[in-house]
């Protein structure tokens, strides 16, 4: 059980600075997810917490204890590696029991716990096999069982489910969540998969280029992203440029929208993020006031239909609408788009600040 605090962390590989001035606080017992594009430094940060990467600056704490110089083996962490790191010369069972043996537990307890986790990960039938005879997904589950069975204070997982099929992924996700809750393990979870991050996390940190962009609950991150990067990285969105004038938003020169909540937004050019579901499409005959647009294409996906339109400014936008029985819209039709104003986000011109947070 540990709270993790990271202050002004810095990591360099040779002359290349990969992480700089990174601050984080991970609450005791929460599932904290690092989300970010490939190469942004997620694995690097995780390995710094684990103690496998040297730390070029800053302080790392488990609770009040500074751990910068503590041996990895003494940190009581469980780690699931991006490439599994299964011991190839040990059977599945011995792999899982390895950490328990290091903790000098009684023999029968080791056997019992090992069996319990093998079963939980649905790999008990492979207990006596060598890892080279397992599929990628099976190996990944061995890695999971091996990290979980030691009931660590801190669990570090680097894309632990990346090689599983959709069904297994769901099941494992729930298993991880359940054990993590049960034991109250502080967990740092790295993933590429947004849906996974959304469904499993208490808190998500979105990273880009070695910097934390936004820390918040899944809901906060989706609804009120800290900047344009987060808005575009999480979910889909349309980014339009516009102007604020005394609480009124001008889009494509002509369309005006206003809300009292926007009164605090300074006048001048802004960037606006409108998610596909935050547009409403009106036929011209409705007489609604908004953005004129022409329908280019649509894709029916069952529950929803995606519409691709072109604004009068030339910008392409995507709109998602719940499918209806018989769609009357056809490519080439002119329509008017209005906004669900309470949901959209308005950013500074450079995209670095959300005025509505």
């Amino acid at each position: 059980m540990s709270k993790i605090t990271i202050k002004e962390a810095k990591k360099q590989y040779g002359d290349v600075t990969v992480i700089e001035g990174l601050n984080l606080e991970i609450r005791d017992g929460e599932l904290f997810t690092l989300l970010g594009p490939s190469g942004c430094g997620k694995t690097t940060l995780l390995r710094m917490i684990a103690g496998f990467n040297s730390i070029e600056g800053g302080d790392f704490y488990f609770n009040e204890e500074r751990i910068n110089d503590k041996e990895p083996s003494k940190r009581n962490i469980g780690m699931v590696f991006q490439n599994y790191a299964i011991f190839p010369h040990l059977t599945v069972e011995k792999n899982v029991a390895f950490g328990l043996k290091n903790r000098k537990l009684p023999k029968d307890e080791i056997r019992r716990e090992t069996a319990r986790f093998l079963e939980m990960m649905q790999i008990e039938q492979y207990a006596d096999r060598l890892p080279e005879n397992l599929s990628g997904g099976q190996q990944q589950r061995v890695a999971l069982a091996r990290a979980l069975v030691i009931k660590p204070d801190v669990l570090l997982m680097d894309e632990p489910l990346s090689n599983l099929d959709a069904k297994l992924r769901m099941e494992m996700r729930q298993a991880i969540r359940r054990i993590q809750r049960e034991v109250g393990i502080t967990t740092v979870y790295v993933t590429h998969d947004q849906e996974e991050a959304m469904s499993i996390s208490d808190t998500i940190a979105v990273m880009n280029a070695g910097k934390i962009q936004h820390i918040g609950t899944p809901r906060e991150i989706y609804q009120r992203p800290a900047n344009v990067f987060v808005a575009t990285f999480i979910g889909r969105t349309n980014v339009l440029s516009g102007r604020m004038e005394k609480g009124t938003l001008l889009l494509v020169d002509t369309a005006r929208f206003s809300r009292t909540a926007w009164n605090g937004v300074p006048d001048g050019p802004v960037q606006v993020s409108v998610r596909p579901e935050e547009f409403v499409i009106h036929p011209l005959s409705d007489g609604a006031e908004g953005l004129p647009a022409v329908l280019k294409d649509s894709v029916y996906l069952g529950l929803n239909t995606h519409f691709y339109l072109r604004l009068s400014s030339g910008d392409a936008v995507e709109v998602i609408k719940e499918s209806v029985l018989d769609d009357t819209l056809h490519p080439g039709d002119s329509v008017i788009l209005t906004l669900k104003e309470e949901k959209i986000n308005i950013f500074s011109e450079d995209g670095s600040k959300n005025y509505l947070r």
Binding site: S73, A85, I86, N102, I150
Partner: protein
């Protein structure tokens, strides 16, 4: 590979690094330093007189040129034979290729001086072939003693090194490379020279260097078959233990020169190899083609002839061990007499040939694995130093190692001469560079994160090494150890300087019997050695998955 442990840390591995460095200081740098000091001293003062003496008298200075010339030619011929055979046997289906390979390996795994001895019995003044040919046709064979003989022995013994290197490189070459060349109309000899040779060039150079190093430091062959053609190892030995006159300062000076020569060759090879280095990625191995008609016949003839010539000395030695002897000469008929006579002359040499190499091997493997580990996984200034120092013995001839050891450890504070320990130390120092290189290669194949997983599961650094990393290295290291074993049991040039009655090894015993003219007994002993080698190689073939031999 993530490398971020650049700073030196005083943990288990820090201490290991320091310990190894101290061992090297005591058993390598100190003896070499002493050698250097002796080379420049007349006992009291600094002097260049040893070097002046060496270079002013052609009797001495010619030996360096002789050594260089014969070793260089041996390397050249070995490349010619080794590349040809290696290429043919990788490209074409050759009948009996497994047995051929085994014979080729056997040829290189025996002590070179035994080969020299066998060739003397075959082609020498009263050799069987010589007498047969002159008796029947009146043909006189070219003189086997001197340059020609040494070159013959070296080439037949050492071309297998190049052969094995080439086969290794060919197995890493993707078949599509050859097919692409063929598509562009480049086939046969042209393809060999424009595509294959450039790709395997670095490997061939490495093999050539190994041949040169082995040849230049060999002592027994020029001693037996060289006669008037003196190499520096011969005068080195004579100057150091010579019955006529002993001059240790002078011997030290020659040693320094010998090291310099090998070093120059070593660095020029490194330079050439790094310039031509290519990385290959094999997806599909080359499929061996079937040859037809005349070309099939010629290729088979060539390969079988070469293999027969190179294995002939050993076969003949085994054969002569069963001949009846009377006194020193062979007489008509067969008997086990030589074996019976052998036992009284053996002393403890069979035990010694088991114990000394076994002890050395244990230490070599342990140190090599540790050194490889700190060099690969704990890169810092200190482990870099260990890595560099460990390669020094690669360029030091065995005779020089022997001389350095005696000079350093026949006096207080540490007297080791006369015991087994000094032989073990010398063998360890000599064999380490090879085993370290192969351990490094093995370790580089093992991803670091597996070890990190062990650490994250609470095991200590040492435990992670012994329980995880080492077992993963074990198959490769073990296969390498068997080959080391084979080279250790056939080692002569260091042992001949360091042995005493109690620590005499089989090779020393064989050499002594040859010198005394007890050919039957020598053959019997050599046969015992051959059998030991053969059994070891069989073991290697069973253990190593693909029978790949890396030296």
């Amino acid at each position: 590979m993530r490398q971020n442990h650049r700073r030196f840390r005083l943990d288990v591995w820090g201490w290991t690094t320091i310990t190894i460095l101290l061992l090297y200081g005591l058993f390598l740098l100190y003896p070499l330093g002493l050698l250097l000091k002796m080379a420049f001293s007349d006992g009291m003062h600094f002097t260049l007189s040893h070097f002046v003496r060496f270079f002013s008298r052609p009797y001495y200075s010619i030996t360096l040129i002789n050594s260089f010339k014969v070793s260089f030619m041996a390397a050249l011929l070995s490349v010619l034979v080794g590349v040809t055979l290696g290429y043919f046997m990788s490209m074409y289906q050759i009948a009996g290729s497994r047995i051929l390979r085994m014979c080729i390996v056997m040829a290189t795994m025996s002590a070179p001086f035994v080969g020299a001895y066998a060739w003397i019995m075959l082609l020498g003044r009263s050799g069987v072939i010589t007498r047969f040919l002159s008796g029947l046709f009146g043909i006189t064979m070219p003189n086997i003693y001197g340059f020609n003989g040494i070159l013959l022995v070296f080439t037949t013994q050492l071309f297998p090194l190049v052969f094995l290197y080439v086969q290794g490189a060919m197995s890493k070459m993707d078949a599509s490379l050859l097919e692409a060349a063929e598509n562009m109309g480049c086939t046969g000899v042209k393809r060999f020279f424009t595509v294959v040779l450039p790709l395997i060039a670095p490997t061939v150079l490495a093999g050539a260097l190994l041949v040169f190093v082995r040849a230049v430091s060999d002592f027994g062959t020029p001693m037996l078959i060289g006669e008037g053609y003196r190499t520096f190892t011969v005068i080195l030995y004579n100057e150091f233990v010579g019955e006529v006159s002993q001059n240790k300062g002078f011997a030290s000076a020659i040693s320094i020169l010998a090291i310099l020569i090998t070093m120059v060759v070593y660095f020029s090879q490194n330079l050439a190899a790094s310039k031509s280095a290519v990385s290959m990625n094999v997806m599909r191995r080359i499929e061996k083609k079937k040859l037809r008609g005349l070309s099939a016949f010629l290729v088979h003839l060539l390969i079988y002839a070469v293999v027969f010539i190179s294995i002939l000395p050993q076969l003949y030695v085994v054969y002569t061990s069963f001949l009846k002897t009377s006194g020193q000469i062979y007489v008509k008929g067969y008997s086990m007499q030589s074996y019976a006579n052998m036992f009284s002359r053996l002393g403890r040499s069979i035990q010694n040939t088991l114990i000394i190499p076994a002890l050395s091997l244990l230490v070599v493997v342990l140190l090599a694995v540790l050194i490889a580990y700190v060099a690969v996984r704990r890169r810092n200034a200190l482990s870099g130093a260990v890595d560099m120092i460990s390669m020094i013995p690669y360029v030091i001839p065995g005779t020089v190692v022997g001389i350095a050891m005696i000079s350093a450890f026949n006096r207080k504070p540490l007297v080791l001469t006369g015991g087994m320990l000094i032989m073990v130390v010398a063998l360890v120092v000599r064999r380490l560079p090879y085993t370290i290189r192969s351990s490094v290669a093995i370790l580089q194949q093992i991803p670091l994160y597996v070890e990190e997983a062990a650490l994250s599961l609470g095991s200590s650094k040492l435990k992670a090494f012994f329980e995880i990393t080492l077992p993963m290295m074990a198959p490769g290291v073990f296969a390498g150890a068997i080959l080391s074993w084979v080279t250790l049991i056939s080692e002569l040039s260091t042992a001949i300087l360091l042995y005493t009655g109690r620590t005499q090894t089989l090779t020393v015993a064989i050499y002594t019997q040859i010198i005394r003219g007890n050919y039957g007994i020598a053959s019997a002993m050599a046969t015992v050695l051959t059998v030991m080698t053969f059994i070891s190689l069989l073991l290697f073939n069973r253990i190593s998955k693909d029978g790949d031999i890396t030296l």
